[in-house]
């Protein structure tokens, strides 16, 4: 009898492109609100890393390397080393916080706490839960990037006007790295495996993408590899006050394109774990 009945197409619970389910703003907000409430419970502790990290980096590398480096040549301009690394510190804050929230925290919510599964017993669709999680990881990136930016403004390394323009750029970066984090959370099977993209991608980006030195000093091949990595585009865009690459439009499109790709990949990785 079973042979006579042909199963329909959804035998594996997954289709490409993903079956986007109904979305309400309330649904997305409600999931985001849940994560924000957890964050709020220990907000003082939670605010410490995004505040202390850039200050430490700025103080350590700024005061430590400025006497050695002094000034840096950037787009035919000579800029003080602290002014050079301040926008990169904003980008690093965005990268670390949004990626780690998307990767570690979402993995824990998915596999240990079963938060996603619980949310799907409420009147929420998969898309709402997914978008809520993604936007929360994005928010974490924005908190880190903005706090770093404000420190840079107070320090006199970045003007308030530059900072306001930097907000949508940081948003784009946060959305991308949060999506990369979610793709990691959906792809790995053990929490230790999250270390693989961290050491294969995040740390190389952190060190090679022009964070502490201009990429021009790298060997040619490595320079091109580093330029393709998305943190380079984000840092270049955030350094718009020091000079803008002639490819800035392309860099925005590159970040947008990667974001779309990683969101779809993340949805594809997580959906079958929840909707069987």
């Amino acid at each position: 009898m079973t042979q006579a009945i042909k199963p329909l197409s959804r035998t594996t619970g997954w289709q490409w492109p993903p079956e986007w389910q109904p979305v309400t703003l309330w649904g997305i907000y409600s999931v985001w609100h849940r994560h924000a409430k957890v964050y709020q419970r220990t907000w003082l502790v939670n605010c410490l890393p995004p505040l202390s990290e850039p200050i430490i980096y700025l103080v350590a590398f700024g005061y430590g390397l400025t006497p050695l480096v002094g000034e840096v040549s950037y787009f035919d301009r000579t800029v003080p080393y602290l002014n050079f690394i301040a926008p990169a510190m904003m980008a690093v804050g965005v990268l670390f916080q949004s990626f780690f929230e998307g990767a570690y925290a979402s993995f824990i919510r998915l596999n240990f706490q079963k938060t996603w599964q619980a949310l799907l017993t409420a009147p929420l669709s998969f898309t709402e839960v997914f978008l809520g999680d993604w936007l929360w990881a994005t928010t974490k990136g924005m908190i880190a990037g903005s706090l770093t930016g404000l420190i840079a403004v107070v320090w006199g390394l970045y003007s308030i006007g530059h900072f306001l323009v930097a907000i949508p750029i940081m948003l784009l970066g946060s959305l991308l790295f949060a999506a990369m984090g979610l793709f990691t959370a959906g792809s790995v099977r053990t929490v230790d495996q999250v270390n693989i993209p961290i050491f294969m991608l995040i740390v190389p980006m952190f060190t090679l993408c022009g964070t502490y030195f201009p990429r021009e000093t790298l060997p040619t091949v490595l320079k091109y590899v580093a330029t393709i990595l998305p943190l380079s585009s984000l840092i270049d865009l955030l350094r718009w006050n020091l000079g803008l690459s002639p490819f800035w439009g392309l860099q925005i499109l590159w970040l947008l394109g990667l974001m779309v790709i990683f969101v779809l990949l993340a949805a594809r990785a997580i959906y079958p774990q929840l909707i069987k």
């Binding site: 009898m1 079973t2 009945i5 199963p7 329909l8 959804r10 035998t11 594996t12 619970g13 389910q21 109904p22 309400t24 309330w26 649904g27 409600s30 999931v31 609100h33 849940r34 409430k37 957890v38 419970r41 706490q113 079963k114 938060t115 599964q117 619980a118 949310l119 799907l120 017993t121 409420a122 009147p123 929420l124 669709s125 709402e128 929840l274 909707i275 069987k276």
Partner: protein, 337 residues
């Protein structure tokens, strides 16, 4: 070796009492039969790869009814429940809650459903009452309304004193009650309870059963999966038996028992199989091996067979009322473990 000869009629048996009660017309059963269908599933199939997990399951759940899905582990109970609330996408077939299609508008349907899954997926980041308050937010219940609702639900499940405790500090039974409270936030039309008392001690199970009975009295429709016979007999108005993803029979617990086994069975040990086989053939009754002995249904007029069995002076002879475990043994050949 000492011989054990006993009948199982010394202790009061709620099932037996209700068999007697059912000889009269049961107004509650009648009212359920005439209640409107709230949840309707039509020809549900689920394949994982080429492997069919659920095969052609159709069911109706009526207002105020407690419907039990009964079956051994791996029978497809949880997959069926998942398809009913939208957590599992059917390979074919459809589910409707009233006029809402669960497949195309699952979130709308779940606004009228309460779901207690097998796993405790409470939020360990929140206290007991915060779990309810923040979950109420998903139903657009916020502020004072959410706090009031959470307080009422905690009172209902008797967890008021634990309101500000962490989830880790709760016992297993308390966690299950809190998951149930969370499922009741929106006064659901249908409540799904997927093996809600698995792993609980007898006291905690009794507490949970009280809540289910209360919900039923309040008019909620409940779909319960379990492999505990006593739970199914106590709580369910109707049972559907599942084996390897198919429904093999359905009815009230009493109907199933009487139709499949009869009123009484005998557990017997210490006589050879040929004798049992011969006696069963003579009286045209069902038997099978059972532990170190045999299980035999007693016919409608049991005294002749009972006397013969007693006369054989077996090592162990126990006469007792038939139950759902016996039904399952007969229908599937499996124990419900």
């Amino acid at each position: 070796m000492g011989k054990i000869i006993a009948t199982g009629t010394q202790t009061p048996d709620p099932l037996r009492r209700s068999i007697a009660d059912q000889s009269a017309i049961d107004p509650l059963a009648q009212s359920i039969q005439s209640a409107p269908v709230v949840l309707y599933a039509d020809d549900l199939w689920k394949f994982y790869g080429d492997h069919p997990v659920v095969q052609g399951v159709s069911l109706e759940l009526r207002g105020g009814e407690v419907l039990g899905l009964l079956g051994p582990n791996g029978a497809g109970k949880t997959t069926t429940v998942g398809m009913l609330y939208g957590g599992v996408v059917p390979s074919r077939g459809s589910v409707k809650l009233g006029s809402i299609s669960v497949q195309t508008a699952g979130h709308k349907a779940r606004a009228k459903m309460g779901i207690v899954t097998q796993e405790d997926n409470l939020d360990p980041d929140f206290s007991v009452i915060e779990n309810l308050i923040h979950f109420a937010h998903h139903y657009r219940l916020t502020g004072k309304a959410a706090r009031t609702c959470a307080g009422e639900l905690l009172a209902l499940v008797n967890l008021e004193d634990q309101a500000h405790q962490a989830i880790d500090e709760l016992s297993g039974g308390m966690k299950r009650r809190l998951v149930l409270a969370r499922a009741l936030i929106n006064r659901p039309q249908v409540v799904f309870l997927d093996e809600p008392t698995t792993g609980l001690d007898p006291d905690a199970r009794q507490e949970f059963w009280k809540l289910v009975t209360y919900l039923k009295q309040q008019g909620s429709s409940i779909l319960l999966t379990t492999h505990y016979m006593d739970e199914a007999q106590r709580l369910c108005d109707r049972l559907m038996l599942l084996q390897e993803g198919r429904f093999i029979d359905q009815g009230t617990p009493l109907e199933l028992i009487e139709r499949t086994i009869g009123r009484e069975v005998v557990e017997i040990a210490g006589i050879d199989e040929a004798t049992v086989q011969k006696l069963a053939a003579q009286t045209q009754t069902w038997w099978r091996s059972f532990g170190d002995g045999f299980l035999m249904a007693l016919p409608a007029e049991p005294s002749g067979l009972w006397q013969q069995l007693s006369g054989l002076q077996p090592d162990r002879l126990l006469r007792r009322h038939a139950n759902l475990e016996d039904v399952f043994l007969r229908l599937t050949g499996d124990r419900l473990e």
